[in-house]
């Protein structure tokens, strides 16, 4: 089939779904709207598969399907077409978005069945997928920005989906405003790149990027990419703009799975990978990205160890895993960042949907202290969650092992890497193993702490089938990127499929001259897996065998524990230093400038007009003969003027 038609169907199918459910949101029932929306995404998925299949058939160097529908903007030098590109990078994204998206839509049919606004929910979800596809397929920064803003809007709408609850509405606004700060930087970065290079097209920007890395902090590439990266910290929840993501858990759980774990929050990583040559030209930016990524991975993981809300734990885990992806991108391992993005989409979507299944079974209870022993009530949810757990803590041969270990290896071995980054990554992995095991233990294992009036039950097939599919993907997903050391001992030497797939379109730091020691790779792998396994075992011991130990430890740690469990008081810090002064300043403007000066001026003007009007109002009597007299007098006046002159 022809490429523009496929591309148009891919993009428009979710949009049509949005229009139908959006216009009929009062009429479409849960089944109709749910299946409609799911079908719309499934059609997109089929189109994606067909497009990617064509892409695979192309010669390695020109794997690129570009479709331009029309000229969107033409202003002087700025020429933006409504152009969309499938290349090896966006191919991975569209498969993940539409594939995982279909599964999550399917899950939603079961999860949202009893909700009143179900058609509206599916309409938003479809709109989100449409915007996400624009974001990843757009061939220029501006087209990407359209999708970037669109997904932000949908995220806001879906976080505040139950907007009658004030906290949830506020969480939506927090997400939106925090993102807006990042977006402002993104726009500035875009302007700067356009001013310097005269184009916003990704392909051209990568071609025009300086070939010699900029040493200065003030070079166009460095400053531009730094600003774009600030935009990415907003969308992808990194320090300092990560605060919205944990609150975003106020939305329905499938939304957390789709938007706040698998797809939207990875947009920042995707943007960096897209502009890889430009970022490579700015080693200072790369260093900032790696450090922020590692710091976020550590900080979020430590907060995750202290949370009691099942979704909050997963949210901090997402922030932490996104940190890993930025760490990978920051050391120039763009392919590995994409690899972890993909495996993370599988296992984190799985765990969020699993937590949705648990919440559903527990009648909207999210506190893991009131769970425990759910294994026997929910066998399918448990076993799939178990796979997700093994994947995220990086146990071979599950997906997360391959991607996370590759990140750690690159953090150490890449010319842009540093042993300290590796140490941070391993520490993060140890904490990840701890908090995920804690979550598993408190939710599914040990003694049941479920209140008597709640009777947990396994979810219907509509919800368990997506879990099973994602469970399988959480195992095999990692086999696309088996690293050198492991592939060398496997029979038939399976190649690193993903590396070969992405290699031609990425500019990664040359590994020539870097001593690549297989022994070293094995040793580092052993250390990180071993430490994670020990950490997981300790957590298991704490939370299943002797549940009183964690209590004692947290009491012994005292203030440190309280600081971490209060999320390092970052929200309070932002409120104290930025939000409250801003509110006070605005209040002053309102009460003094607006009320006293602007309002008073307009009132004065209005009063003047009213006074003037009341003087001449008497002339307008409605008495026609009076008017006729005025006409006559006017005539006399004019005539006498003419004659006398």
């Amino acid at each position: 089939m022809n490429h523009s038609l496929l591309m148009a169907t891919l993009l428009l199918s979710p949009f049509v779904g949005f229009l139908i459910n959006g216009f009929r949101y009062r009429k479409n029932g849960p089944n109709l709207s749910g299946w409609l929306a799911t079908t719309a995404i499934a059609i997109s998925f089929i189109c994606s598969v067909l497009l990617v299949a064509d892409l695979v058939g192309m010669p390695v160097e020109n794997r690129r399907i570009a479709v331009s529908f029309f000229d969107w903007l033409t202003v002087d030098k700025l020429k933006i077409a409504a152009g969309f590109v499938v290349d090896p990078i966006s191919a991975i994204m569209i498969l993940v978005i539409t594939g995982v998206g279909t599964l999550i839509h399917l899950f939603s049919i079961g999860y949202m069945h009893h909700d009143k606004g179900v058609a509206k929910y599916f309409a938003y979800l479809n709109l989100f997928v449409f915007n996400m596809l624009i974001l990843v397929l757009g061939d220029s920064l501006l087209t990407m920005f359209v999708g970037w803003e669109g997904v932000g809007l949908c995220s806001y709408l879906l976080i505040g989906f139950w907007f009658t609850d004030k906290d949830k509405a506020a969480a939506g606004m927090k997400a939106f405003i925090t993102n807006r700060i990042g977006d402002a930087a993104f726009l500035l970065g875009m302007f700067l790149l356009f001013m310097t290079f005269g184009t916003l097209n990704f392909h051209d920007l990568n071609q025009l990027a300086p070939t010699l890395p900029e040493a200065s902090w003030l070079g166009a590439a460095t400053l531009g990419t730094l600003l774009l990266f600030i935009g990415a910290t907003g969308k992808s929840a990194q320090i300092p703009l990560y605060v919205w993501l944990p609150d975003a858990m106020a939305g329905p759980t499938p939304v957390s799975a789709l938007i706040h774990a698998a797809t939207m929050v990875t947009a920042g990583i995707y943007m960096i990978v897209r502009l890889n040559a430009m970022f490579m030209a700015a080693p200072n930016t790369m260093m900032v990205i790696a450090v922020i990524g590692a710091a976020t991975a550590l900080m979020a993981a430590s907060i995750g160890m202290t949370q009691w809300d099942i979704k909050k734990v997963l949210a901090y885990s997402t922030v932490s895993q996104l940190g890993y992806m930025f760490l990978a991108a920051g050391v120039g391992a763009f392919g590995v960042a994409m690899f972890h993005l993909m495996t993370h989409a599988f296992f984190k979507a799985l765990m969020f949907l699993g937590s949705g299944s648990v919440i559903h079974a527990m009648h909207e209870e999210q506190d893991i202290r009131k769970m425990g022993g759910l294994k026997k009530y929910m066998p399918i949810t448990h076993i799939t969650f178990f796979f997700g757990w093994l994947a995220i803590i990086g146990m071979p041969p599950f997906a997360g092992f391959f991607s996370k270990d590759e990140i750690l290896w690159k953090a150490m071995s890449s010319p842009l890497g540093h042993p300290l980054l590796w140490v941070a990554g391993v520490l993060g992995a140890v904490m990840t193993a701890f908090y995920m095991t804690r979550l598993m233990a408190l939710t599914f294992w040990g003694k049941s702490r479920v209140p008597k009036e709640v009777h947990p039950h396994e979810s219907p097939a509509l919800m368990t089938i997506p879990l099973i599919v994602l469970g399988i993907l959480s195992i095999v997903g990692g086999w696309l990127g088996i690293n050198h050391a492991i592939s060398s001992i496997l029979p038939g030497h399976p190649a690193n499929v993903l590396e070969h797939w992405l290699g031609p379109v990425l500019l990664e730091p040359s590994l020539e001259g870097v001593h690549q020691s297989m022994t070293m790779e094995w040793a580092l792998m052993g250390v990180s897996v071993g430490l994670a396994a020990i950490s997981a075992f300790v957590a298991y011991h704490f939370y299943v065998r002797s549940p009183e130990t964690p209590q004692k430890i947290s009491e012994a740690l005292g203030p440190v524990y309280r600081l971490v469990s209060k999320k390092y008081l970052v929200d309070e810090l932002y409120a104290g230093t930025i939000i409250n002064p801003l509110v006070a300043f605005s209040r002053n403007l309102w009460q003094h400038i607006d009320v006293q000066v602007i309002d008073k001026t307009t009132y004065l003007l209005a009063d003047l007009m009213k006074g003037g009007g009341s003087v001449v109002r008497g002339l307008q009597t409605g008495n026609m003969q009076q008017y006729a007299m005025y006409i006559g007098l006017g005539l006399v006046a004019i005539l006498s003027f003419v004659i006398m002159r």
């Binding site: 009597t621 409605g622 008495n623 026609m624 003969q625 006729a628 006559g632």
Partner: protein, 108 residues
Amino acid sequence: MPSSEIVNQIGLSHYLVLSAVLFMMGFLGVLLRRNVLVMMMCIELMLNAVNLAFIAFSKFSGRIDGQIMVFFVMTIAAAEAAVGLAIIVSIFKRFREVNIRFFEHLKG
């Protein structure tokens, strides 16, 4: 003195004075009378006074423009009478009288 002599002795000023007198009669009628029908007739009188002036000017200047203008004025007068009478009829239907004060109800 033959009658044609008398006619020849009537100059432009005679016509204009008559026209002005007729016009003022019409104008005062419009200002002072309360009956809308009479006011309409007074308006017609004013228009015809103007017509008279036009024709007089035309005759004494020897140009045809003034007489053409009269046809326009007559057409307008007919149209005005049609619209005006229609309004008067509706006012009469509503109030059983055509006093000008009822027209104040048309004020927005």
